[in-house]
Subunit: 332 residues, 2 copies
């Protein structure tokens, strides 16, 4: 084989679902590996909600959008198949932003070696963006204290499931908001959450009141949607709201409005947003924080594997339909 497949972004989403019309599937020649370079064969690519931002033309976002005609940006994991680099050897596993392509030529910039004896799925599900995001947001903004109550939306998602498990391990009461009974069952019976709300079928206000009799101290927002309004009404004084994702609103031309700021005063709340690119320098400290929880078996995950490179193009829509079960990963 002397060619490989890559997917270029050729149009920007205009609201609504992500389809193959936004992309161009191309074949490229496998490049020569020069001095101080190496070639990675990707084995798994990660699909993350942040990619909606990278596809859009919004220049106010935290990192520049992908230029039209460029390979779609994504993180992934793979094995080095050829190397002229002193620090990277054939057979090494590496992780990083390699984009939607089967092969990736690198001089090492931005790639990290993976040495943990865990399968690719575990690495991408816990030690990559989801685990780093959960750890950064929960501890630097959420400041969870034993005995407090935390509510997390998108609770069965890759970030939300880790947030909830970290908080449970720290002695908080944890309530997850999910979009199906199957996910509710998973977060409660597999992950050990104290309760779950199916926002599609439950009376949210009633159920939230039942599950949070002492009010809510920390809210970790991954989705947007009506839950915001119900949570604000039950926040305790000095509560913290971590704004990590608004997936329910990304496909809308006009996002929904948020709750009035009056309770922010009355309850002295803090609402803070964050994105991981601001904190890449803190990754070693975040991994140091996260690793003991994983080693003690306190962080379970599930990966939703899409089989085949081409699946990347429509796979992102699972975030909108909520039909993904666990971390979305494309297996090459």
């Amino acid at each position: 084989m002397t060619t490989y497949k890559a997917i270029n972004l050729v149009a920007r989403p205009s609201g609504g679902l992500i389809g193959p019309d936004l992309f161009d599937l191309v074949k490229k020649d496998i490049p020569e590996v020069a001095k101080n370079q190496f070639l990675v064969k990707q084995s798994h690519m990660s699909l993350d909600p942040a990619m909606f931002g990278w596809m859009s033309a919004d220049t106010e976002s935290y990192i520049p959008p992908v230029a039209l005609g460029d390979v779609m940006r994504s993180s992934g994991i793979g094995e080095i198949v050829e190397s002229n680099h002193d620090d990277f050897n054939v057979g090494d596993r590496v992780m990083g932003m390699m984009g939607w392509q089967e092969y990736y030529l690198s001089d090492g910039t931005g790639l990290n070696k993976v040495t943990a004896p865990l399968p690719d799925e575990a690495i991408l599900s816990v030690f990559a963006l989801p685990g780093l995001t959960a750890t950064q947001g929960l501890y630097s903004i959420g400041k969870p204290q034993k005995g407090e109550t935390l509510v997390v939306s998108g609770a069965a998602g890759s970030v939300g499931s880790i947030v909830g498990q970290l908080a449970k391990a720290d002695g908080l009461t944890v309530i997850g908001v999910v979009g199906s009974d199957e996910k509710a069952d998973w977060v409660v019976n597999e992950l050990g959450f104290d309760g779950a709300i199916n926002y599609k079928t439950d009376d949210i206000a009633t159920r939230l009141a039942q599950l949070t009799p002492k009010g809510i101290d920390v809210y970790f927002e991954n989705t947007g949607g009506a839950i915001q309004h119900h949570v604000i009404a039950r926040m305790n004084a000095h509560g913290r709201i971590v704004v990590c994702g608004m997936i329910a609103d990304y496909p809308k031309a006009e996002p929904d409005l948020a709750p009035s700021w009056i309770p922010i005063i009355k309850k002295r709340l803090t609402i803070q947003g964050f994105t991981m690119p601001d904190h890449f320098g803190e990754v070693p400290a975040l991994l140091e924080k996260l690793t003991p929880y994983v080693m003690q078996g306190k962080i379970k995950y599930r990966a939703h594997i899409l089989d085949g490179f081409d699946e990347a193009m429509t796979g992102l829509n699972l975030f909108f339909t909520g039909k993904n079960k666990g971390k979305l990963i494309v297996k090459l």
Copy 2:
């Protein structure tokens, strides 16, 4: 004179204006002054937006509401006219929460002596709740940095005018949002703000864009209303929003909704509410911070004096109509 006037709260506001129907004007006998007590004759009472919260039945607020039948809560300043207390002498000036009444019997709890050689109006306008509130919110949440741009709503109000002047003295570009051309003129030509927006007559988006070419780093919210949405759109990355008051929404049965949280993520904003009762322990430090600005002549104020005790009952409505010019004070 052996009786004095007091105003009791007898009903709670139900949205809309504050009228005499909520109050009962009573006459009381001037009390005996026992051992370790003293009697204050109030000279000026302060009217503050926080009083709307104290009148309401909202048990989630930061301090308990005034019980029906009790004297309406307020801060004020006055002179001791009789004393059986070792630490407080006849002729001393004192300040504190003395309520809507002409005389106040005290054992000293919660009252502070006023020794600064400034008129009552200056004390209530700068060194009481307005100045403390401005200093706490601006420095602990707003974290202003020289060269940044700050926007403050309610800019001609008692808190907003001090916020803007502190920020100007610290080397920020300061834009005030006001409700009349007279107020715009005052904050720009008297207080030295860099610009003002009349939210009632200006095209807010256009004017805000003209006045904040480098975007907005700090927003100090005193009012609520449409300005929120325009400001969020121009916030810079890592901007701070201090939520101090929502006067425009307090009289509404259903407060207006706030901007979507999507920009909170994209720009990594922090939105934080606060109220002074949480920070009464920090008052000495706040006064230490504020005093040099005042002594250097950097903090101008203007007081809007309502002449006569009974004016208190309808005076609060000036916050809703915006017709107050400066710190609202009732002169007894």
